[in-house]
C-alpha cells in the first residue's frame, strides 16, 4: 500500500462519525451505579450463616459441660456419694435391663 492510500485511509477513518449516545444513556448509567451500590450493602444472614458464626461458641460450651460433668463425677465419687456413672449403671440395671425387658 502506497503512502497516498495510507493517508487516504486514515483521513477517511477520522471522518467516520461516532454513534450518538441514546437518549436514556445517563439514566442507564445511574441505574447501573445504584445496582452496584445495593450489592455493596451487606445482605441479611441466613440461619445457616448464623449457625456457622455461632459454631465455635457452641463447641466451647459443649466442651465446658462435658468437663464439668467429668469433674463433678470424680468429686462425688471421691467423697463417697454415688457419682453420675454409678447412677446411670444403677438405673440401667434396675429398669432398662431387667430380665423381662420393660
Amino acid at each position: 500500500m502506497n503512502e497516498r492510500k495510507w493517508k487516504q485511509l486514515f483521513v477517511a477513518a477520522r471522518n467516520e462519525a461516532a454513534p450518538a449516545p441514546p437518549t436514556e444513556f445517563e439514566a442507564n448509567v445511574l441505574r447501573a451505579i445504584r445496582r452496584e451500590r445495593r450489592t455493596e450493602t451487606p445482605e441479611m444472614l441466613s440461619i445457616f450463616d448464623q449457625l456457622n458464626l455461632l459454631f465455635p461458641r457452641l463447641a466451647w460450651a459443649a466442651a465446658a459441660i462435658i468437663a464439668l460433668s467429668v469433674v463433678a463425677d470424680w468429686g462425688l465419687t471421691a467423697v463417697g456419694v454415688p457419682g453420675l456413672g454409678d447412677g446411670v449403671s444403677q438405673i440401667s440395671a434396675q429398669w432398662l435391663l431387667t430380665s423381662n425387658g420393660f
Binding site: 495510507w6 485511509l9 486514515f10 467516520e16 461516532a18 454513534p19
Partner: protein, 185 residues
Amino acid sequence: MNDDAELLERIRNGAPDDFAEVVRRHQSRVFAILHRYEHDAHKVEDLAQETFVKAWRALEQFDGRAPFEHWLSRIAVRVALDHLRREKKRRNEIGLLELGEEALEWLRSDDEKSELDGRAAAEILDLALRELSPADRVVITMQEIEGRSVKEICAATGASGVAVRVRALRARAKLKRALEKLVKL
C-alpha cells in the same frame, strides 16, 4: 453549576444523582473514543457504561490536577484496551467476507481518484488492526486516527514516551503488512 470541579464536589458531598450531569457532559467524547475500537453500537454503549461506572467507583481518586475529561478519557482508553484483549481471543482471523463492496473495490483499485468513505475505511482498518496486539492497536489508533501527540498517548496509556514511540513504529510496520495482506487476498 458551571464547571466539572464544582459538580464533582457536589457528588462527593452526597448528591450522587448529579453524576447524570457528568454523564451528559462527557458521553459524546467517551462514545467517540470507544467507537475507534468497536463498531457495534450496542457494544460501544456497554463499554461507555462500563467507563462511567468505573469513573464513579474511582471518583475519590480524582485529584483535579488534570482536567476531568482527560482523566475520564484515560479510563475509556483502558476500558477499550481490556475489551480488545477479550475480543482478540475471540476473533483473530482475517476474512474478506467481512468487508463491504466499497472497501473491497478501494483496496483493489490503483486509481488515484478512487473515493473512500468513513464507514469503508473503518471496515478495512478494523480488519487489518486485528493483526496487531491490543496495546499496538491503541497506540496506532490514537496517533493516526485521533491525531494525538506522543505526550497525550503517554498520559492516556500510562506508558513512557520511548515505549510509545517504539510501539508506534512497530505498530505502523505491522499495520502496513496487514494492509498489504488484505490487498493481495
